[in-house]
């Protein structure tokens, strides 16, 4: 009895883990999930000591105007939780204004680029020039981190793409290549269900490791001469075409491919 309960418990746990890890709808991220907004904490002095502050002010105003326009063209930003007033000490109204605009234009979905913009404004207008070098260094580190993050995102997307198939252009390139290699046996009847499905195992360079006709048993059945001829022609096409024009990345995605050869359209025409 106890043994059964333990086995049952163990299997249930395993089931829940596997289900949680594998089911496609669970692994997908919800679309509207708000992303984390990274905020840089900086020390700001009361007065700027940038030598050509008025000139810099003009430039900043121009940029602001541009950004306002851009913001108006964008979709209304989602409501982001207000930052705590003590998170960034804002010594004067002028800076508050800048910050406000930044808040308005801030789109939580495009965090990385906006972080860069903020740091640039702040570098020019708000910070001690003595610290610029340090800030640049920091921004370098930051941008590198951002890039890393972006890379990570790309990889995640790539993982998702494992299950999405080839893009249209990738598929078209492959199709166009095989179209050129496949000599259709013109003697086949157009009104019979002749579909040959071939599973391929590919090397990263597109050459073929293995081919497998999925309905192999049908090839040697009596009365299936047409199917055999079509299957052989399809195999010849695949071998003639190799290495196949496969995408340069995402090998995991296409290391196994299934090609469905259907000549009816051509034979009917």
């Amino acid at each position: 009895m106890n043994r059964n309960i333990i086995i049952s418990f163990g299997l249930h746990t395993l089931l829940v883990i596997i289900t949680a890890m594998s089911l496609p709808f669970l692994s997908k991220k919800p679309l509207d999930l708000p992303q984390i907004v990274s905020v840089e904490l900086i020390q700001i002095k009361d007065k700027t000591n940038i030598p050509f502050a008025p000139k810099a002010k003009k430039i900043i105003e121009k940029v602001k105007e541009k950004e306002k326009k851009l913001v108006s063209e964008q979709a209304p930003p989602k409501i982001v939780k207000k930052q705590k007033p003590d998170a960034i000490p804002l010594p004067n109204k002028k800076i508050e204004k800048v910050k406000k605009i930044e808040d308005e234009k801030q789109n939580p979905k495009k965090v990385e680029t906006e972080i860069k913009q903020i740091s640039e404004f702040e570098k020019k207008e708000l910070f001690d020039t003595n610290n610029i070098a340090a800030l640049i260094d920091k921004s370098k580190v930051e941008s590198a981190e951002t890039n890393k993050k972006m890379d990570k995102v790309t990889q995640d997307q790539d993982k998702d793409a494992n299950f999405k198939g080839l893009s249209l252009s990738e598929e078209d390139a492959l199709k166009a290549q095989i179209f050129g290699c496949w000599s259709i046996p013109l003697g086949l009847p157009y009104n019979e269900n002749l579909l040959v499905r071939i599973k391929l195992q590919l090397k990263p360079d597109g050459s073929i490791i293995r081919t497998e006709i999925l309905d192999h048993a049908r090839m040697n059945k009596p009365g299936q001469g047409f199917y055999k001829v079509l299957a052989e022609s399809a195999l010849r096409a695949v071998k003639l075409c190799q290495p196949l024009r496969v995408p340069s990345s995402g090998y995991e995605r296409w290391k196994e491919l299934q090609l469905n050869f259907d000549a009816r359209e051509m034979l009917e025409g």
Partner: protein, 446 residues
């Protein structure tokens, strides 16, 4: 209990890992398949023996040339130049070096061996899939040496069947009307030849006008129309023995006798009381049965391959159009509705299409349509051409075409032409004289 859990686990196990990318390939090319026809190897002794009997230096090369020519004429194969071959015929027949054949872009390879055994010709041949590196077929034939061309045709049929999936049409013959002399005084003889134009023989002397010869399903008999003292007669001719037999004298205009698929009846049209209708004649008891009874002109009947239906042309709608009906003349249904006049319908041996001649705006077309009249396709257009006849596999049509020999329209020439269902592979069939009214036999080796 444990199994139940395992079952649940298996059903829920990472589903997405099995999501295989599928790509649909719905188009290909219609380029002829590159084939290497290696000369059949032959030893010196056999070579000398065949030279004595047939006066041919290298029979192996000659047989492979027949195969090569047949494949090229079909339009579906592209035999590669022998100059490019890297492997000798005798070694290739034992074990081809596929890399060498791959190098010259051959996708299929034919090798073989010819030997002289007990006064007979023995031919072995093998068909290889170069890309897969495997043998697809191996056969051997033994026959009298004079049959060497037929062996070449049979090999082609086997190769064709293996690579295209349909029966071949190379081991067949064509009967036609050979024509000589000026148009006003043509001498017409019955002639028969292999489908590639070789082994031409004349079956009649040319004293009488002969028209519309048609093979029986067994190939032994031919029915044709001949005028004896200006009266049309339907004849039966045994090709093997040369014996002729008059089936009957028929009144008025008689047209195009043709066998039923079982070879027991002849179907034709003739005019009785000034009205042309379709009749059948039982060859055993010679009883004539009227099939259509309509005041219009009904001609050119042709049975469907199962013998249940008949297609014919009639002007009962005001213009000559194609109709089908059941074998007893009931359920007449018009199937052609295009512009122009339609005639000489012939049911395909595969049963799926009807070939016809169409006259529209002063031009003649050879075309095909489905048996319900849909999918009309005109394959070829010319100044004057008619009388299509199907190859036994229902893939190629042979017909005759008359051409003006100069720009003034003086002179005149009639030749046989063939065209396949794609409409691209149109070729003239060489004949010694002018030729008309061709009829294609079924496969001789069946």
């Amino acid at each position: 209990m444990l199994f139940r859990y395992l079952f649940i686990l298996l059903t829920l196990f990472p589903l997405k890992t099995f999501a295989l990318i599928e790509v649909d390939i719905t188009r290909g090319n219609l380029n002829p398949l590159p084939v290497a026809v290696s000369p059949l190897s032959i030893e010196e002794e056999s070579k000398n023996n065949f030279k004595k009997i047939l006066d041919i230096d290298n029979l192996g090369s000659e047989i492979s040339a027949v195969v090569e020519n047949n494949l090229r004429q079909s339009g579906l194969f592209n035999p590669l130049s022998k100059n490019a071959f890297l492997q000798k015929p005798d070694i290739a027949n034992l074990k081809p070096r596929f890399e060498d054949w791959n190098l010259i872009k051959a996708q299929a390879l034919i090798t073989g061996k010819v030997t002289f055994v007990d006064e007979k010709l023995r031919v072995e041949f093998r068909l290889w899939d170069v890309l897969a590196g495997k043998e697809m077929m191996a056969l051997a034939f033994t026959t009298v040496p004079s049959n060497w061309r037929r062996v070449g045709h049979i090999i082609t049929d086997k190769v064709y069947e293996r690579l295209t999936g349909e029966n071949g049409y190379f081991d067949t013959r064509i009967i036609y009307v050979s024509e000589k002399g000026p148009k006003t005084n043509r001498i017409k003889k019955l002639a028969i030849m292999d489908q590639d134009g070789f082994n031409n023989k004349y079956l009649t002397l040319g004293n009488e006008l002969v028209l519309t010869p048609r093979f029986s399903p067994t190939n032994q008999m031919v029915t044709y129309l001949s005028y004896f003292r200006n009266l049309p007669r339907v004849y039966l001719l045994d090709i093997e023995t040369g014996l002729q037999e008059v089936v009957g004298d028929f009144p008025g205009m008689t047209f195009a006798p043709r066998f039923s698929p079982d070879g027991k009846k002849i179907i034709m049209s003739f005019a009785k009381d000034g009205n042309s209708d379709i009749y059948t004649m039982d060859l055993e008891n010679r009883i004539v049965e009227r099939i259509t009874n309509h005041p219009s002109i009904d001609t050119s009947p042709s049975f469907s391959p199962d013998g249940k239906y008949i297609t014919f042309n009639s002007d009962r709608s005001g213009y000559q159009q194609i109709y089908i009906m059941s074998k007893n003349g009931k359920d007449v249904k018009r199937i052609s509705f295009g512009n122009g006049l339609y005639g000489t319908p012939v049911w395909s041996p595969r049963g799926d299409l009807i070939a016809f001649t169409k006259l529209h705006k002063g031009k003649f077309y050879i075309g095909v349509m489905r048996t319900d009249g849909t999918g009309e396709r005109l394959l070829t257009e010319n100044f004057y051409q008619e009388a299509p006849s199907w190859s036994p596999n229902g893939r190629v049509l042979i017909f005759y075409r008359e051409t003006k020999t100069n720009s003034k329209g003086e002179g005149f020439s009639a030749k046989l032409w063939s065209i396949d269902l794609t409409g691209y592979n149109e070729k003239m069939v060489e004949t010694e004289t002018d030729a008309s009214d061709p009829s294609w036999s079924s496969l001789l080796s069946n």
